[in-house]
């Protein structure tokens, strides 16, 4: 039997894992900026419909460092964090997934922080 991709009861979100369970801040930022708004909306709305269940499940786990979670829990955690990243253009009614009047993020070094 192959290993579960996500914790049981979150099977319905498995299809998003390869593309959207992103472990670094930079990956999540660029995924948003480089994705079309309808794609972001479809992903966000589907996971957001389960967001309370995700919070409730992850809050039962005793580990605080996501990098040390069991793989299915870890994938679910980063799926939620990517969803959070995708929420801004939708909640702020932007015309696309990035605004124009801002400093070019490619010039900003995002430093990885332990335990994130």
């Amino acid at each position: 039997m192959s290993e579960a991709v996500l914790p049981k009861s979150f099977d319905d979100l498995e299809r998003f894992v390869p593309e959207w369970s992103l472990e670094s801040e930079a990956e999540r930022h660029w995924k948003r900026v480089n994705s079309d708004l309808p794609i972001v909306r479809a992903f966000h709305d589907t996971v957001n419909a389960r967001i309370d269940a995700i919070y409730a499940y992850l809050n039962t786990l005793p580990i605080l460092d996501p990098k040390r979670l069991d793989p299915p829990d870890r994938r679910l955690y980063y799926l939620a964090v990517t969803t959070v990243e995708m929420s801004h253009p939708l909640d702020l009614n932007w015309a696309s997934t990035e605004i124009e009047d801002k400093f070019p993020a490619q010039r900003v070094e995002m430093i990885p922080i332990p335990g994130r």
């Binding site: 930022h29 955690y77 929420s87 801004h88 993020a105 900003v108």
Partner: protein, 400 residues
């Protein structure tokens, strides 16, 4: 029903400040060399965090472009934090090339000289081949340093005219216990073509917030009783300044923000003015609709203090038109993974706000350096900038 408009309470000397500041002259290489000599080398500046060197023997290397040198911050086996020039006293090789760690001995890669974590010369290889050696001259060169809360400051002048405590003045007390509650959740580094004064100025007033941040946090400050977003409290000290930002009590929490704050602590763009456990330096005036404080530790450290978060921005000039920004975001330590997800919501919104803040810096520098206008014109809501230039001029010996 009457609406009481928030009035700014100013504390400190608000007279004799420059409201029309000559700026083009400040953007030249010659002027910056004066600033490097008379401001940066005559100020206590932050170099590291005490928590970066937690154990005896812990060290961290800090390259300091502003001073064109590299410093070694070490916690000695006696538990005292010291800062040294990162140099072997034999022939000047850079002793530790970078990074951080924990060591009992620092060994130079050139000829194997070694130093202990207290900076003392520990060993000279083939010592018998050296004649007339005075070991007292060969310890690591000490840089004056001091610790405030979790911050390690240095003073590059061998004989500072003031202690760190005297330099910090009113900021020296009032922050006990504040920093211990946080964990770092993000760090950003960026090099910009912008003079350091312009860079720090753009973060020390709230006037811009209604315009620059319209796309990301449109209603986070102000509100019906403060439509112009006037600061409720501004304090000008001998060199430093701080102000409190006004929350908007009618800020609309919706979408993922509502979820994030149901499972985690409120932070930008929603605020709580619950001051439980906050030391007296935070929201000094105990303003009711308080959002956060902005504090400039003159010359080049900016800290933003909220009650569940704080932000660090170090502004390190490399030359008259280049600056390195060191930005770090901290939040109250998460107690569960849900709180971490909520932190990530705050961070991903905050990152967009920061990208907006940085977006004017190079454009403004370009036009001012071109001499397109000679002066900048400052309002009373930009009084912190007026104060910045008065303090700078005083240190530079400029009388206007």
């Amino acid at each position: 029903m009457t609406t009481t408009i928030t009035q700014t309470v100013f504390k400190g000397d608000t007279e004799n400040l420059p409201r029309r500041v000559p700026i083009a002259e400040r953007l030249t290489p010659e002027f910056f060399e004066r600033e490097r000599r008379d401001i940066f080398r005559k100020s206590w500046v932050p170099v590291a965090r005490a928590s970066e060197v937690p154990d005896p023997g812990s060290y961290v290397v800090k390259d300091m472009p502003t001073f064109k040198t590299s410093l070694l911050v070490v916690r000695g086996l006696d538990n005292q934090i010291r800062v040294f020039q990162n140099v072997c006293t034999h022939r000047g090789n850079k002793l530790v090339r970078g990074g951080a760690g924990c060591k009992r001995s620092f060994v130079c890669g050139f000829h194997g000289w070694s130093f202990n974590p207290e900076g003392g010369l520990a060993g000279i290889t083939d010592e018998g081949a050296f004649r007339d050696i005075d070991r007292a001259l060969l310890n690591l060169p000490v840089v004056n340093s001091g610790v405030w809360t979790d911050y390690v400051f240095v003073h590059m002048d061998p004989h500072p005219s003031e202690t760190l405590g005297e330099w910090l003045g009113e900021l020296n007390t009032g922050y006990d216990g504040y920093f211990e509650q946080f964990e770092q959740i993000a760090g950003y580094r960026v090099t910009l073509k912008c003079n350091w004064n312009l860079a720090i100025n753009s973060f020390t007033e709230g006037y811009h917030t209604a315009y620059i941040h319209r796309n990301t946090v449109p209603d986070y400050q102000g509100g019906k009783n403060n439509p112009k977003r006037h600061r409720p409290y501004v304090e000008l000290m001998e060199r430093h300044h701080r102000y409190s930002a006004p929350a908007n009590p009618d800020h609309r929490i919706h979408g993922m923000e509502e979820t994030a704050f149901r499972y985690g602590r409120k932070a930008i763009p929603a605020f709580t003015d619950d001051m439980t456990g906050m030391p007296p330096g935070i929201n000094v005036s105990r303003h009711a609709n308080w959002a956060f404080d902005v504090v400039q530790f003159f010359p080049n450290l900016l800290l933003l203090f909220g009650n569940s978060w704080y932000v660090h921005i170090g502004y390190w000039p490399i030359d008259h038109e280049t600056i390195e920004l060191d930005n770090r975001f901290f939040m109250v330590k998460a107690k569960n993974l849900g709180e971490k997800i909520s932190q990530e919501w705050v961070l991903s919104r905050g990152r967009q706000v920061l990208l907006e803040d940085m977006n004017t810096l190079e454009a403004q520098h370009q036009m001012l350096a071109a001499g397109a206008i000679s002066h900048v014109q400052l309002s009373q809501q930009e009084i912190s900038l007026q104060h910045h230039y008065k303090v700078a001029d005083t240190m530079l010996g400029i009388v206007r």
